[in-house]
């Protein structure tokens, strides 16, 4: 094991300082201290490559897409559809037309709930969620339940936040029509065994929707290997622009589903008697889309792939292990979410100090963390905490930043001693 060939060792070297230089915001200060950004799970910072791609779209190559017969419109269309192919390759989808652009993952889930759900799910049909879903993968299904009478079942997790696979399996029946689960929990960092879940769900005859928001920035994702029927994510958590999201769905499902919204871009012909719809994916992209956002997302994917998702993943795992050790060494700090193999999210509480007070004090050390329920109130209920502090690590975070975090938490303990 010691004899790692020199070239391999070199290839594995992760130059985090070089990566940090690609993110202009990381050199700023907050309250007179260097910014320590530990909230990438809420929204990640943007590399120059993404900022430049968005700027260049507007300054050099902007026009509406799929319309003009003129040079700029054709150029913008080419860039836009080029970004769709980047997303396709990023997820290893079979075809580019399986990629639908939305505003964000929330809209993608609402699209499926609305279009697929209202068409194919009926009263008494069951869907299964996990106990650790983000509100965006709970509320759309509750809206659908109120409209159609479907039944929502919830698969529980253990005290570490790991899914109880047996309990999930026990919920599956021939009434189960859809399983909608997160790939990685935003509140706890738990990574769900989505491939195994999809296999079990398919055996029961159910479809699978995976919320990949937290997963795609941190690990290579292959929708065909998982065999997900639907896979959604948001661009802004993948170091891309806000306001752009992705729905991947198997082509035959998209073809069977009715449009989600009506308007321009999504039709072939319109008369007052009848309209015919464009082929997928355009059927689901009514109106002028977020053109610069899509192009920026394409640049973000290029950047992440060039850096290497496996290398990012290794870096983040090592940093998570380091941060876990450092946090656990502070008296009164308890981690919420300790599932084996979890991602780079550290949710914790500080004894006798409310997370909001922790958040405010950390902010004055220049440290950005999330304090609250993380849009996952059922998770807070499950672990009997009103809220937690969450430090989430991205590709640009360092051990020195983890040290700054632990020093600041010790200061919190001093103030509240």
């Amino acid at each position: 094991m010691n004899a790692i060939p020199e070239r391999a060792a070199e290839a594995n070297f992760y130059d985090v300082e070089a990566i940090r230089r690609d993110f202009p915001i990381l050199s700023r200060t907050v309250h007179g201290k260097p910014l320590v950004f530990l909230d990438s799970a809420a929204s990640a910072q943007k590399p120059t490559a993404v900022i430049d791609a968005v700027a260049s779209c507007y300054s050099d190559e902007y026009a509406n897409i799929h319309r003009g017969v003129y040079f700029l419109s054709e150029l913008a269309t080419e860039k836009f559809e080029g970004a769709r192919r980047k997303v396709q390759r990023f997820l290893n989808a079979a075809e580019a037309r399986e990629i639908v652009f939305t505003r964000n993952a929330t809209e993608a889930i609402n699209l499926v709930a609305s279009s697929y759900g209202r068409t194919f799910l009926n009263s008494g049909d069951e869907i299964i969620l996990s106990e650790i879903e983000h509100h965006s993968n709970i509320v759309p299904w509750q809206l659908l339940r109120d409209q159609t009478g479907i039944v929502i079942k919830v698969a529980p997790v253990d005290d570490r936040g790991a899914l109880l696979l047996d309990r999930f399996r026990a919920l599956l029946s021939k009434r189960t029509k859809l399983v909608a689960l997160t790939h990685m929990s935003n509140a706890l960092g738990t990574v769900l065994p989505v491939k195994e879940i999809a296999r079990l769900a398919h055996e029961a005859g159910a479809l699978v929707l995976v919320d990949g928001c937290q997963a795609v920035p941190h690990m290579p994702v292959d929708v065909r290997e998982i065999d997900a029927d639907f896979y959604v994510f948001s661009g802004h958590k993948l170091y891309g622009p806000s306001g752009i999201g992705v729905l991947y769905a198997k082509a035959h499902l998209l073809e069977a589903m009715p449009p989600y919204q009506g308007g321009g871009e999504m039709i072939v012909s319109v008369s007052f008697e009848k309209s015919t719809y464009a082929p997928i994916p355009h059927k689901f992209e009514a109106g002028t889309p977020h053109i610069a956002g899509v192009i920026g997302l394409g640049a973000a994917i290029d950047y992440v792939i060039a850096t290497g998702l496996s290398r990012i993943s290794n870096h983040e795992h090592a940093l998570t292990t380091y941060a876990t050790e450092r946090l656990m060494a502070i008296p009164g700090v308890s981690l919420v979410g300790t599932a084996p193999g979890k991602g780079s999210i550290l949710s914790f509480t500080v004894e006798r100090v409310h997370p909001h007070d922790v958040g405010t004090i950390l902010d004055h050390h220049g440290i950005a963390v999330r304090a609250g329920h993380h849009c996952a109130q059922p998770v807070m209920d499950r672990f009997k905490v009103p809220a937690t502090v969450r430090a989430s690590l991205g590709m640009y975070n360092t051990e020195a930043e983890v040290d700054a975090l632990t020093a600041a938490i010790r200061h919190v303990r001093e103030i509240f001693a």
Binding site: P355, H356, T360, H364, P386, F416
Partner: protein
């Protein structure tokens, strides 16, 4: 860090750690539940209103950040003995103090004692996200005033 020191003054930390008038009372005739869904702060305010709508007793129970707990604790100390009108006026002044930059650190038209006591929360002004923490107890008190008088005395046992 001076803003931080303004926010977490000794008095605040003391009230947060040892809140006064804390716990559900055996007898009360008005109550309200306050909740800040953003941060999960929860507070219940219990009142006994006497003659002339005077606050005869006020207690609270809840869970939240240091700012909300200290604000609730201070509030209960200040409101005991106040009339409804006096209490509402004090809330208005307090609200002004924690939301308006230009209001300075003084509370015009408030009794000097009350003014002094509430000053410790003036630091919240520098933390717009935390203003709601400081005002939640007062909003809950207002809701308790507006609530129906409990028909019978409620006991916890």
């Amino acid at each position: 860090m001076s803003e931080l020191r303004d926010l977490y003054q000794e008095v605040i930390l003391d009230h947060a750690k040892r809140p006064r008038n804390f716990g559900r009372p055996e007898h009360f005739d008005h109550e309200a539940h306050g909740h800040n869904p953003l941060c999960g702060d929860k507070i219940d305010v219990f009142l006994i209103l006497g003659k002339d709508d005077r606050v005869e007793d006020i207690r609270f129970e809840g869970r939240g950040c240091a700012i909300s707990m200290a604000s609730a604790s201070l509030m209960t100390e200040l409101l005991k003995g106040k009339t409804e009108a006096e209490a509402k006026r004090l809330f208005e002044r307090f609200h002004e103090m924690v939301t308006h930059e230009e209001s300075g650190d003084t509370l015009p038209n408030a009794a000097p004692d009350d003014l002094e006591r509430l000053q410790v929360l003036a630091g919240v002004r520098q933390f717009p996200m935390r203003v709601k923490c400081a005002t939640l107890p007062w909003h809950t008190f207002n809701a308790a005033l507006a609530s129906e008088r409990a028909e019978t005395e409620v006991t916890t046992e």
